[in-house]
């Protein structure tokens, strides 16, 4: 008997999702005309956390690289603004690209060194390297030294509404773009290799995937993305210090967002970001409590819900808004393969 088989990469949810996505993009893009200043600021923050979480999830959930040191690249992106835009007078928006490129460039030799450590050791190693960057910025008085520096002068002359709108659109482009980017990447050959790597390094090596090369690429691309977002963050804050730029708190927040939302899924970081902002909003009056609550939540999820909130939903309802797996479908049945 001949079996007619088609390989499907779309699901019903993903087709519905595409329609929703177009609506979301339209609503977000038009926000500067109808939303207030406070909403916009929260929006920018939410969007850049979304981008950071997506990229961290790409590294950790798919590439198997758990880094606690991505704040190094946020710092490099931020300090590129100080150096090139504030000190050397280049266009601040152009500087975002420079910061991103520099972050990627520095990530390459850093990966050579850090890849000597594996797993948990790698995670702490990245943190140490980030600390080195923090100390370098703190000792570099031309860039503001330990107490930091205001870079308001770089955006002087740009009309405030226009500046806010531009920052928002950039954040939207990077935030929503990160979802699209990670999605397309994972559906490509590259993504297949990456998922093979996540499942077994040894097995993927044996089918011709160069593990080190692939990991280096992921690390460098993630660094460039963090550098870009770092630049954007401090272009909206307009004040930077080593402690705020290269802070472990970036990693803490991103890790919690990804773990609670669902590591290794594209939907997970989206849910995690929304949950994080809701918690922060409601617990804002209680000081450090929201970090304690979020920490407890992350540990509980880690112990009881494998794959976080979205991983559980996915297993339960077979719901995929961003299907990255291929399914074999015949007239009789659907075979699943991840």
């Amino acid at each position: 008997m001949r079996l007619d088989v088609v390989i499907e990469t779309a699901t019903r949810a993903s087709r519905t999702g595409a329609v929703v996505a177009i609506g979301v993009i339209a609503a977000v893009a038009s926000m500067p005309w109808w939303a207030g200043s406070g909403t916009m600021r929260t929006g920018v923050e939410l969007l850049y956390y979304l981008a950071l979480a997506q990229v961290w999830n790409l590294m950790a959930g798919y590439g198997g690289l758990i880094s606690f040191g991505q704040q190094a690249f946020i710092g490099i992106g931020g300090y590129a603004l100080v150096l090139f835009a504030y000190r050397l007078g280049l266009d601040p928006y152009l500087t975002l690209a420079i910061g991103s490129a520099l972050a990627g460039l520095f990530a390459w030799p850093m990966s050579k060194l850090l890849f000597r450590l594996h797993g948990a050791y790698f995670a702490v190693g990245t943190w140490i390297v980030a600390e080195c960057w923090r100390l370098v910025f703190a000792n570099w008085s031309w860039l503001g030294g330990g107490s930091g520096i205001s870079i308001t002068a770089t955006v002087r002359g740009i009309e405030p509404w226009w500046r806010e709108a531009l920052a928002f659109w950039l954040a939207a482009l990077i935030g929503l773009g990160s979802i699209a980017g990670v999605y397309l990447l994972l559906r490509s050959r590259f993504g297949l290799a990456l998922m093979a790597l996540r499942d077994s390094e040894v097995a993927s090596e044996s089918i011709g995937i160069s593990v080190t090369q692939l990991k280096t690429w992921v690390y460098v691309v993630a660094a460039a993305a963090f550098g870009l977002v770092g630049g954007l963050i401090f272009l909206t804050k307009l004040r930077i210090s080593p402690d705020s730029a290269v802070s472990i708190n970036w990693s803490v927040t991103i890790v919690f967002i990804v773990v609670v939302g669902g590591i290794g899924t594209i939907e997970g970081p989206i849910i995690g970001v929304v949950l994080y902002f809701l918690l922060r909003e409601y617990l804002a009056d209680y000081g450090a409590i929201y970090m304690i609550v979020f920490g407890l939540l992350a540990i509980t999820v880690m112990l009881t819900l494998k794959g976080g909130i979205w991983g559980t939903v996915q297993r339960r309802f077979d719901l995929h808004f961003f299907p990255v797996q291929r399914r074999l479908r015949s007239s009789q049945q659907t075979l699943n393969s991840t």
């Binding site: 950790a60 060194l113 080195c132 000792n139 450090a288």
Partner: protein, 290 residues
Amino acid sequence: MANLLDTLLQGTLLGGRYALMAIGLSLAFGVMRLVNVAHGDFIVLAAYLALVTVNALGLHPLSALLIVVPAMAMLGYAVQRGLLNRAIGRDIMPALLITFGLSVIIQNSLLEVFSADSRRLQAGNLSSTGVSFADGISMGWFPLMTLATAALTIGGLEQFFRRSRLGRAFRAVSDDPEIVQLMGYDPRHVHALAMAVAFATVGIAGTFFGIGTIFDPALGPPQLLFAFEAVIIGGMGSLWGTLAGSMVLGIAQAIGFRIDPGWGILFGHAAFLIILAVRPQGLFPRTRDA
């Protein structure tokens, strides 16, 4: 010359403090292949525990060890049995992320309870007196005591691993968690006992840390990083290696501090990265696993 000798001496003494902090981390590495990211925060927690004990009972901070060490050991047993045993296995991610979460919870809880103010355990003369050899070279009694305590703790633990039945079970569980069942032990219980021993040393480290320097709730992560560097420089699975690694780290930092106060910590990190580049297995590795 006197300058150089003094720098080396101060670096060695600083190394003693790091060694005391690194023992617990090294033990958890060695026995359970576990990287406890909250290690530094547990050290700071122990310092606060000592502070509370001293304030409540009016004891000398060193006598607070009698309470802090058993209390931390019990906490270690509970953390391992209740939390981490469920997370250790082939996948390192759960344990890593759980301890990362613990780190944040401890830091913020200490902040809520004790505020961000700096504290110190008052040990009277002990923390201010020392001995002076020649002009420019002097040594505080307390740092010397810290170094001696670190060396004694390591020596004691090495004997314990070699000679006692439980110590052998620790080494066995490190090689193969299944095999200790043949010795009549439950691996979960052995893991929890190992963590209790590790946390007992964290209790000592925390108390000494609180006497030796001012502390606040945010100081956990740097202690983790120093302890981690000492373990990696020394080579995994060897406590004497950890002591040597601590010395390298302490001396590197002391040289940095001497050149420019802003560079001390950076020099320590640089020493770690150089070792990682030229001898990634560390100076005296025993465990072949990373």
